[in-house]
């Protein structure tokens, strides 16, 4: 039986992060993309806590706390923007929102 070290957590976090990154790039629904960002943030949080445990230091947990707060703020503003955009065009497809193209 393997022993549970922080490496396990870190590998799991890397997996979640990669999945989130791929999802962000592949999915076209703005909301789903947003969720993928949250996935990535969570993967990072997990990494922070794992290192915090591994190094026996509160620093990682403190970082997670701030990530949580910032994520909350980000979602509030992001969803506000999405709602404002979707009021104009009845679509959540991010490819439709390309007014800023060169």
């Amino acid at each position: 039986m393997f022993t549970l070290t922080e490496t396990w957590y870190l590998v799991l976090a890397a997996l979640i992060f990669s999945i989130g990154a791929v999802g962000l790039l592949v999915r076209r629904n703005v909301l789903v993309m947003f969720m993928c960002v949250e996935l990535m943030l969570n993967a990072v949080n997990l990494t922070f806590v794992s290192f915090s445990t591994a190094l026996d230091d509160l620093g990682g947990q403190t970082a997670v706390f701030f990530v949580l707060v910032v994520a909350a703020a980000e979602v509030v503003v992001g969803l506000g923007i999405i709602v404002a955009i979707m009021r104009r065009r009845q679509s959540a497809d991010v490819d439709d929102i390309s007014l800023m193209r060169g």
């Binding site: 790039l25 490819d95 060169g102």
Partner: protein, 653 residues
């Protein structure tokens, strides 16, 4: 004494204030304000001067750094001022004579539609000149150098509605550019070789310069000086510059700006001391300029042109002194020349003012009857420049000639002979001018006469100051100028008379100027022993007297036809100007056309090409900006991968 910065700041304040409020201040107001600013600056200079005097001999230098101007890598330049005996001496007569000329201008420029603008320029000029002199590094000096150049340009073409005035301004500007080029190259060279442009830092480093480098630097700086100080071959702009208002001629083109070159070389005496044969070049150029200009001066009919060539010639003396390492003599002559030449210019201005802006001496005569104060003061100036003791010109000129006689310069005796010849010519043409102006019959009463039947009118057209268009009529009665114009004349006459006291050759304790400047100047020169000096002085006086008598014989007693002396070649200043014009119009023009083509095709082409290329590239690249968030995201992700890859490879190592 931390108020050094106030000296240039006050005229600058005047400039800024007048730019904004000049029109509000109105006709006399703006002028009085400007004069007050320069006067206050003079008082400040006096304060600093007194402070310096109170210091021990060796510590007479105040350097004050205000702030860092440019800081780029190891290149660091501050806005800082260096008040030492040399710069304060310069400041004293810049602000002193400047203040007098400001006062004079209030009278002279009365009623001019651009009255306040004139004082804007004058104040800016004084500020720039003070910056030039007080700046503690080459770059700041260059700033002042360009500032005075710009002001000179603006003032020469002050009445720019006349195309001749405008072109005279342009000529001065362009000719000066050639010299500035030398200044800049020299500054770069100093920076590259010494790693600093600060005078106080240059001073200890200069002896370490290679002889060749020092020579190159000195020659390049001298090129700059020939432009600003109107030496061969760049002197051609100064006679034309007389198109400007007469106070300008007095202040800028006689007393202050044109001495900037002398100041520069004196300031850089540590480098000049290492420069070897460059000093010979300076001396010879100075001597030849003095001769050429003196020759030209005897054939001019425009009262101001005579003075202009005279100025060129006297500047030649100064460079002769610099070239023979007699810096003290150069500065001494600079001071005396500043006072008597300003006096002469202002006197001529007074005459012109009285004669309804007629500048042709052939239409003058017997003016001593109408202009007693002008006449009296002009006499002082005349005797001073002619080198009659005990007036100031004698002492300074004598010291230069004595220095040349004993110098180790190549061909020093030849130089001395030239100097003596120039002294003779100086006495001659000045006497000629005085006689034509103040003695004889009242020639303007004869309608349109050409008393001497000259075929050539010696460019009289060029210099006619016709900014107001009432011409000299036969029934004109000259009248003395207002007090604001005569007062400076009297003061300057006093100065011109006694300025010689600054540095009397009769014994070491009497050489005030030499002791005063000692800590600033590097370079040794030995005066000949006392009895030789006495003989030389006697010779000089004799030469001056001969010149005066000769002129008296020709123009007063009319024993010789003046036409025999006033050769066209002299009137045209050896055709140097014409040669330039011919060259510029012929092969020069084609060359310039080619350069212009090059500029258009290659330089502009490069600039436009880069711009066009950027536009084209942008047009191609804007396709990348799809507006699609996911594309951007992909870009970011790829970038992240690259970063990660970099980090990972670093970890391994």
């Amino acid at each position: 004494m931390t108020a050094v910065w106030l000296i240039p700041a006050l005229p600058l304040l005047g400039f800024v204030t007048l730019v904004v409020l000049g029109r509000k201040f109105g006709d006399p107001g703006a002028g009085i304000f400007a004069a007050c600013m320069v006067g206050l600056s003079f008082l400040g200079t006096l304060g600093v001067f007194a402070h310096l005097l109170s210091l021990p001999h060796e510590e007479r230098a105040i350097s004050q750094t205000l702030f860092t101007w440019i800081s780029s890598g190891s290149f660091k330049v501050s806005i800082g001022f260096l008040a030492d005996p040399l710069s304060i001496t310069m400041c004293l007569f810049i602000t002193g004579i400047g203040a007098l000329i400001h006062i004079y201008s209030v009278g002279y420029m009365k009623g001019d539609p651009k009255f306040s603008k004139f004082f804007v320029y004058l104040n800016l000029f004084v500020a720039s000149m003070l910056l030039l002199v007080l700046g503690d590094n080459l770059l700041l000096t260059f700033l002042g150098w360009e500032g005075v150049g710009a002001c000179s340009y603006l003032l020469i073409s002050f009445w720019f509605t006349d195309p001749k005035n405008a072109s005279a301004g342009k000529k001065a500007f362009v000719t000066n550019r050639v010299g500035d080029f030398g200044f800049m190259l020299a500054t770069f060279l100093v920076w590259v070789t010494l790693g600093t442009v600060n005078y106080e830092q240059i001073r200890p480093l200069a002896p370490g310069l290679a002889a060749g480098t020092a020579t190159a630097i000195a020659l390049l700086f001298f090129l700059g000086a020939t432009g600003k100080s109107a030496q061969l071959p760049l002197f051609v702009w100064l006679p034309d510059a007389m198109a400007g208002p007469t106070p300008v001629s007095a202040l800028i083109h006689a007393a202050t700006m044109v001495t900037a070159g002398v100041y520069l070389l004196t300031r850089l005496s540590p480098i000049m001391a290492e420069a070897g044969w460059a000093n010979d070049v300076v001396a010879w150029v100075g001597a030849l300029t003095a001769l050429v200009a003196a020759c030209a001066a005897i054939a001019q009919n425009d009262i101001k042109k005579v003075l202009a060539y005279s100025t060129v010639s006297q500047l030649g003396y100064m460079f002769l002194a610099v070239g023979t390492q007699s810096y003290v003599a150069a500065v001494f002559h600079m001071i005396t020349h500043a006072s008597f030449k300003a006096l002469l210019f202002l006197g001529s201005g007074s005459v012109i003012h009285a004669m309804a802006h007629e500048q042709d001496m052939r239409k003058y005569g017997n003016l001593r009857k109408y202009l007693p104060i002008t006449y009296a003061t002009f006499m002082v100036g005349w005797l001073a420049i002619a080198g009659i003791p005990p007036l100031s010109g004698f002492w300074s000129k004598d010291e230069i000639l004595a220095g040349v006689f004993n110098a180790k310069t190549f061909g020093n005796l030849a130089l001395w002979v030239i100097g003596m010849a120039v002294a003779l010519l100086t006495a001659f043409y000045m006497t000629r001018q005085v006689i034509m102006t103040f003695f004889g019959e009242e020639k303007w009463r004869h309608a349109e006469v050409d008393a001497h039947g000259h075929e050539l009118h010696a460019d009289e057209e060029d210099a006619v100051d016709d900014h107001d268009h009432h011409h000299l009529t036969p029934d004109h009665t000259p009248h003395e100028s207002p007090i604001s114009m005569t007062l400076p004349l009297v003061v300057l006459a006093g100065a011109a008379a006694v300025a010689g006291l600054l540095n009397l050759p009769f014994g070491d304790p009497l050489k005030f100027l030499e002791h005063w400047l000692e800590p600033t100047i590097v370079g040794e020169h030995e005066l000949p022993p006392g009895w030789v000096q006495a003989l030389l002085s006697l010779a000089a006086v004799a030469v001056a007297v001969i010149g005066i008598l000769g002129a008296r014989a020709v123009y007063f007693q009319k024993k010789v036809d003046p036409a025999k002396i006033e050769k066209p070649v002299f009137a045209h200043a050896w055709y140097i100007d014409e040669t330039y014009a011919k060259f510029m119009g012929g092969p020069g023009e084609t060359a310039f056309e080619d350069v212009a083509q090059f500029d258009q095709k290659i330089v502009d082409g490069a600039v436009n090409g880069i711009a066009g290329g950027t536009v084209g590239l942008g047009n191609r690249l804007k396709g990348l900006q799809t507006g699609l968030v996911r594309t951007y995201g992909l870009g970011m992700a790829i970038g992240a991968v690259a970063l990660l890859a970099y980090v990972v490879t670093r970890i391994g190592g």
